[in-house]
């Protein structure tokens, strides 16, 4: 749902429902409830537009990824990011391009 909002910018619930189709056939009330919960958690902002509301992301995709990753590392990997990387390398078949990209990032970080 957040991916749709980041992609299309400020949008109504109807627009989110349409953007999710045909991969996800969700009812309007379901999407509306999820967006309101995202708003409650301050990931989404609502703007009054006529009789309805428009919703836009309150956090950037990078910030959201960082928060989610921090939560994942804390809850699942005992607060050790190296375990996460190890698991990623063990379980996921990475292409040579992806591996070289990771190596480049690590070298850049070491400098």
């Amino acid at each position: 749902m957040m991916n749709v909002i980041w992609r299309i910018g400020p949008c109504s619930v109807h627009q989110v429902v349409d953007a999710l189709r045909p991969q996800r056939e969700l009812a309007y009330t379901s999407v509306s409830t999820i967006i309101r919960i995202l708003e409650q958690k301050k990931y989404v902002l609502s703007i009054k537009e006529g009789r309805g509301h428009l919703y836009q992301a309150a956090v950037s995709k990078q910030a959201y990824q960082a928060t989610s990753l921090a939560r994942l590392v804390s809850n699942v990997f005992d607060g050790a990011p190296s375990l996460l990387v190890q698991r990623l390398l063990d379980s996921k078949q990475l292409s040579p391009e992806e591996l070289s990209s990771i190596r480049a990032s690590m070298r850049k970080k070491e400098r």
Binding site: R24, L26, T29, S30, T33, I34, R36, I37, Q40, K41
Partner: protein, 556 residues
């Protein structure tokens, strides 16, 4: 101290044990029938059994139930007549005597213990319910409303990972986790399941069962019954959703398993009805010892051990045909009536041997029939009746005395008729000697024989009493003397109660007492201290009343 609260609480505990057994039997029998009962019917039967177990002991005292079971315990006014004398000034201490072991327990302490356990359990349950309600209301206040229809509200929350239903007076809630909103088909199944819990009344009955568990917290049957009902609720709910809606058992099971995966980390208050309750499964897994390699397989291997596994097994193997309505009614009636019979039978297993003032008044009314003898009931007489009938040794004394009385009764009755004296005077030797022909002891002031004449009185009525001969020990001669003495006293005082007082203390003493006290009321004279034995008159009166009600109270 009234026996009723203790009797009711103990009977309820025993009946819950019976109800637990009956529910187990019903489920066992139903599972083996070619056309089993629906889980809804089994659940209703369990509710009826619990209601009967709790209410039958309350209602049983209103009906006189025949004694179908042997008496398990007896309640006495005091452990013995002597103990009753010691505490007569303060409040008497009633005891519960367990007839199987002979152990005596104080009734007041037992009643206090039972009431403390019951009230303490209810208080703890109420506190837990209150805490659970507050936590759930806080969760509901943060949840997002999806739909509202009358008193029903459907909400979504990211704080719960399992759908659940909750009731508070006037409001019905169904709460679903946000993750379920992205699975429309599972969402529909979950909503139907939780709505069915509301329809079955499970969401408000969970409060009742919680309080019952608290009230009978030390009774394992209450907890086993609670677990059985929890299972039956879920089975009945699953069964109803499959029957009422176009959803296959396999699809329903998929939904349950998906919810269960998400429910592993969930810890909801006990008043919430989650679609899948993983709390018990968690506890069971936590207490299970780790399997060692080479160890034999547990007895439960191959059988579904968790409620979720049983629910899936039941859903996938559900029979097509169910028991006919007539069969359902017959089975339900049979189990509930078995419990009611047990309830009424239990009501008579604790025998209250004490005599209440109202019962004493009824017995006195019976004793007054066909006699002009002045029969009085007052607190002193009731206390003496309880000493005779309400204590184990008093009852033994009475029983033995009455057995001995039969030997002398024809002779005494004949002499009473000859002098036109009332038959109530048969009670005097019972009080004096217990109908034992007792010889003179070392004290010359003490009496001898059935009527316990002292030496000077015996000689005054023509009986020879000297070191070589004691005619008081001839029952016929002493009875003859006693008849003449009593006739003389009655002629002198014109009142049997005063005559009895004079028989015990002497006519000179009674005459002086009447003069000094200015009353001819024998009981008032006794109370004002004009007596030889403060309990004598009340004891004779109590003996007369008990003797004339022999059919009412058994002495054994």
């Amino acid at each position: 101290m009234s026996l009723a609260p203790l009797q009711i609480y103990l009977s309820q505990n025993v009946l819950l044990l019976v109800a637990c057994g009956l529910v187990r039997c019903l489920r066992f029998a139903s599972a083996r029938l070619p056309h089993p009962l629906t889980y809804r019917h089994q659940l209703h039967c369990a509710y009826w059994l619990i209601a009967a177990a709790v209410l039958a002991p309350v209602l049983a005292p209103l009906f006189s139930s025949p004694q179908l079971l042997p008496a398990a315990a007896q309640v006495w006014s005091a452990p013995s007549g002597q103990a009753l004398s010691r505490v007569a000034a303060s409040s008497p201490v009633a005891t519960l005597s367990l007839t199987t072991t002979g152990t005596q327990l104080r009734l007041d302490l037992l009643t206090q213990c039972a009431l403390t356990i019951c009230a303490g359990g209810i208080a703890i349950s109420l506190t837990l319910l209150l805490i659970g309600t507050r936590a759930t209301r806080a969760l509901l206040s943060r949840a997002q409303l999806i739909r509202r229809s009358g008193a029903l509200r459907i909400l979504a929350t990211s704080e719960a990972s399992v759908p659940f239903s909750f009731w508070r007076p006037g409001s019905f809630f169904i709460v679903v986790p946000v993750s379920l909103l992205t699975r429309p088909e599972d969402l529909r199944i979950a909503l139907r399941h939780e709505a069915q819990h509301h329809r079955q009344g499970d969401t408000w009955l969970v409060y009742v069962t919680g309080l019952l568990r608290g009230a009978f917290s030390l009774n394992p049957a209450a907890h086993v019954l609670g677990n059985s009902i929890h299972e039956l609720r879920e089975f009945a709910c699953d069964e109803a959703v499959i029957a009422r809606h176009p959803v296959t058992a396999r699809r329903y099971c998929d939904c349950l398993l998906w919810v269960a995966e998400n429910a592993l980390a969930q810890d909801l208050p006990a008043i919430c009805m989650p679609m899948v309750d993983m709390r018990r499964a968690h506890r069971r897994l936590a207490h299970r010892p780790p399997a060692s390699p080479g160890a034999p397989e547990p007895r439960t291997a191959g059988r579904p051990t968790t409620l979720l596994a049983r629910r899936v097994a039941v859903l996938l193997c559900s029979p097509k045909r169910r028991l006919h309505t007539f069969g359902v009614a017959a089975l339900q009636s049979l189990t509930v009536s078995t419990l009611l019979v047990a309830g009424f039978a239990l009501a008579a297993t604790v025998q209250d041997r004490r005599i209440s003032p109202s019962e004493a008044a009824e017995m006195a009314a019976v004793a007054r029939l066909n006699t002009s003898f002045p029969i009085v009931t007052n607190p002193q007489v009731v206390a003496e009746m309880n000493r005779l009938v309400g204590t184990p040794d008093g009852r033994a004394y009475l029983r033995e005395s009455l057995r001995r009385m039969h030997t002398h009764e024809p002779m005494i009755r004949e002499k009473l008729q000859q002098l036109s004296l009332p038959a109530e005077l048969l009670a005097i030797p019972l009080v004096e000697s217990g109908y034992r022909n007792r010889p003179q002891d070392g004290n010359p002031g003490h009496g001898a024989g059935l009527w316990m004449f002292i030496g000077p009185t015996a000689r005054a009525f023509g009986l020879a009493v000297d070191p070589t001969q004691d005619e008081r020990l001839d029952p016929a001669l002493e009875t003859d003397a006693a008849m003449r003495l009593l006739s003389q006293l009655m002629a002198e005082f014109g009142d049997w109660n005063l005559a009895l007082l004079a028989y015990n203390g002497g006519s000179d003493f009674v005459n002086r007492s009447i003069r000094e006290a200015g009353t001819r009321d024998a009981f008032e004279l006794t109370q004002r201290g004009y007596e030889n034995d403060p309990r004598y008159l009340a004891r004779v009166m109590a003996t007369i009343i008990v003797m004339k009600n022999a059919s009412r109270k058994a002495y054994d």
